[in-house]
């Protein structure tokens, strides 16, 4: 007990350097935990993006590319696929449900997705959670109805009944607007923490109606223009879509159907298993995430080396302190444990302060991070992995403390009770 008291009093006597050391360790611990939290959360929300879908089918390209545009709304399809190809596989005997997807338009930076009501019925994310409407209803027979993702509605401040104009293409600033055919917001989805939140959903018929008078990628002019009302009366059956998702009756059929689609002679198609493609994509991003983690580990190491430096520099000016302790009966191992205790105390204070900083930071930035990055950082107690990290930091501090401890041990043996000044 008295050793702890002496160690604490000695540290308090050098409180300025001690506080700086604690602060350096605290910052590094906070950074490490923050990186760890964000990457755990990112991985979880990534894996939660899509579930329950057995196959995603699109024009032949790369599997990651297909996953990116069909699920994450990133990048573009290289090619469209024909409606009859979709119909053929949607009616396949192994297929339970099929969701067509048609992409290419946007609204103020958010992607517009044309689909069918099957989407609301069958699309699943996280642990088989279905999409829920927070307000309103799904789009129905009128082609000019839109259902907003939660973030779109929140960020743009849209409510039910709002009239919005979609833009052609996916650039944030689009010069070509479908302003002759405004859409009415009829529903807003619950927040999912997935790209669904950042999507505007319209019917395939709506998508077709938008482009019905377009020729060669340009809007029609003058007499060739077709108004919204005229479009409503026309046949809005799409001829092409971008991709589709399939749910099968039996998982066992997944691979055989995948092969069947990939070998389809009608047009070049690619079918992917979302889980496999997700993993492939994560392994690409995982490197960056690993690198970030390693960097933050090194920052912790730097903090601990700062502590080691501070203790080692103090040793020489504390020879007298050690000699006095020896003269009142402290044995060399007492002196050594005093220094290990000191390192442990500094690290423990640093870790505690760092964890406090982390929670303060999470509490302060929770809303902002969720809104901007779709990551929900919970104010959870540290996970068992985080406890292990913290324990590891303390163990490393004690291991480092043994360096000055060993030096002080040698020094106190050599100096004995008196210091030659």
């Amino acid at each position: 007990m008295h050793l702890i008291r002496i160690a604490l009093a000695s540290l308090a006597n050098r409180r300025f350097t001690a506080l700086l050391t604690v602060f350096a360790i605290a910052l590094s611990v906070c950074l490490l935990l923050a990186v760890e939290r964000v990457r755990t959360e990112a991985r979880a929300s990534f894996a939660n993006t899509i579930s329950g879908t057995d196959l995603i089918v699109g024009a032949r390209s790369g599997s990651v590319n297909l996953l990116l545009y069909s699920v994450f709304r990133i990048g573009n399809a290289t090619n469209n696929i024909r409606w009859d190809s979709f119909e053929r596989f949607a009616n396949h005997r192994q297929v339970k449900w099929a969701i067509p997807i048609s992409l290419g338009d946007s609204h103020r930076g958010y992607r517009v997705m044309g689909t069918s009501t099957a989407y609301f019925e069958h699309y699943r994310y996280a642990r088989s959670q279905a999409l829920q409407l927070a307000q309103g209803r799904e789009f129905a027979d009128d082609p000019f109805e839109v259902v907003l993702g939660a973030e779109v509605a929140q960020a743009l401040g849209y409510g039910l009944g709002e009239k919005i104009v979609l833009a052609h293409g996916v650039a944030t600033i689009s010069l070509l607007k479908h302003d002759d055919k405004p859409f009415t917001v009829v529903g807003i989805l619950e927040r999912t923490g997935t790209p669904v939140d950042r999507t505007l959903h319209i019917s395939l018929a709506g998508m077709e109606a938008l482009h019905i008078d377009w020729q060669n990628g340009m809007p029609a002019r003058g007499a060739a223009q077709i108004s919204a009302d005229q479009a409503r009366a026309m046949d809005l059956q799409p001829k092409q879509i971008t991709a589709f998702m399939l749910g099968l009756n039996s998982k066992i059929a997944t691979f055989s159907l995948q092969r069947e689609i990939n070998e389809f002679r009608g047009e070049p198609l690619l079918a992917i298993l979302p889980g496999v493609a997700l993993q492939e994509l994560w392994s690409l991003m995982g490197t960056a995430e690993q690198a970030l983690f390693v960097v933050s580990l090194f920052v912790v190491l730097t903090g601990l080396i700062g502590m080691l430096t501070a203790i080692l520099t103090s040793l020489n000016e504390r020879r007298r302190e050690m000699a006095i302790l020896r003269s009142v009966g402290a044995r060399p191992w007492h002196i050594a444990s005093l220094l290990v205790l000191e390192a442990f105390t500094l690290a423990l204070a640093g870790v505690a302060f760092g964890v406090a900083l982390l929670y303060l930071g999470i509490a302060g930035s929770q809303g902002f991070v969720q809104a901007s990055y779709g990551l929900y950082l919970a104010l959870n107690a540290p996970s068992s992995y985080e406890w292990k990290l913290l324990g590891g930091i303390l163990a490393a501090a004690v291991a480092m403390g043994s360096v000055p401890a060993w030096r002080a041990y040698r020094q106190s043996l050599a100096d004995g009770l008196s210091i030659r000044l």
Partner: protein, 235 residues
């Protein structure tokens, strides 16, 4: 005749790679005796105190403290033996500046169960023992809770004396404890130290180069006379 407190016989010591520093054929200190040992710097004084404290081990001969041959004890046992039976007062800066006066005085009792036990037997508790000693040495009780480095040098030396005496060690070793004090304060400090050593029944081995203090002691010796190695160097 009672057993001497310290007995040196044919003690020889040299630092590695250096000439023989100490060669003391015979030396004793009786229980309760106060001895002035004159030793100019470089005479092996510090080394002798290190040997008596069991920090260094003699290469030849014997050092007996209370009849116990220090050379036969392990390093850890010597450390324990030292704190159980010896109190130290050094030149200056004797105290841990960041501890309170009380904590400084009580330090030996934290490392020696024997001295803590003796302090309790005589005063009821270690705290009471510290307070009583400081009171005898003329330090006001309100100083007890102060940080040691807030005291004057003279006060600090009295705190160091109280620390050396707590738990009644049989031997008090003082290494130039008065060199930082002016003459009047020196004599007053010594009188207090004598009185307390007498009250505790401790012997005092007082090492100094200041010959003027010698008449105050029971006996006075010069390390140069004791140490044959020193003589041979002089010749």
């Amino acid at each position: 005749m009672t057993q001497p407190l310290i007995e040196l016989a044919d003690l020889g010591f040299a630092w590695p790679g250096q000439a023989q520093l100490l060669d003391i054929p015979h030396f004793t200190l009786a229980p309760g005796e106060t001895l002035f040992l004159k030793g100019p710097s470089g005479s092996g004084k510090t080394t002798l105190l290190g040997l008596l404290g069991g920090v260094q081990r003699a290469q030849s001969g014997h050092i007996r403290l209370l009849g116990q041959d220090l050379g036969q004890l392990s390093a850890g046992a010597r450390d324990r033996f030292r704190v159980d039976h010896t109190g130290y007062i050094f030149q200056q800066f004797n105290l841990l500046p960041f501890l309170s006066v009380r904590e400084n005085v009580e330090l030996p009792c934290r490392f020696s169960r024997l001295r803590a036990e003796r302090a309790r037997q005589r005063h009821g508790s270690v705290d009471a023992a510290a307070a009583a000693l400081l009171d005898h040495l003329g330090l006001r009780t309100e100083l007890l809770g102060r940080r040691a480095d807030e005291l004057s040098i003279g006060q600090q030396q009295r705190v160091a004396a109280a620390r050396a005496l707590i738990g009644q060690p049989e031997l008090v070793i003082a290494d130039e404890p008065t060199s930082a004090l002016d003459f009047d304060a020196r004599e007053a400090f010594l009188q207090l130290l004598f009185a307390e050593c007498r009250a505790a029944g401790a012997s005092l081995l007082f090492v100094s180069h200041d010959q003027s203090l010698a008449p105050l002691f029971d006996r006075s010796l010069s390390l140069g006379e004791l140490n044959r190695a020193a003589k041979s160097v002089e010749v």
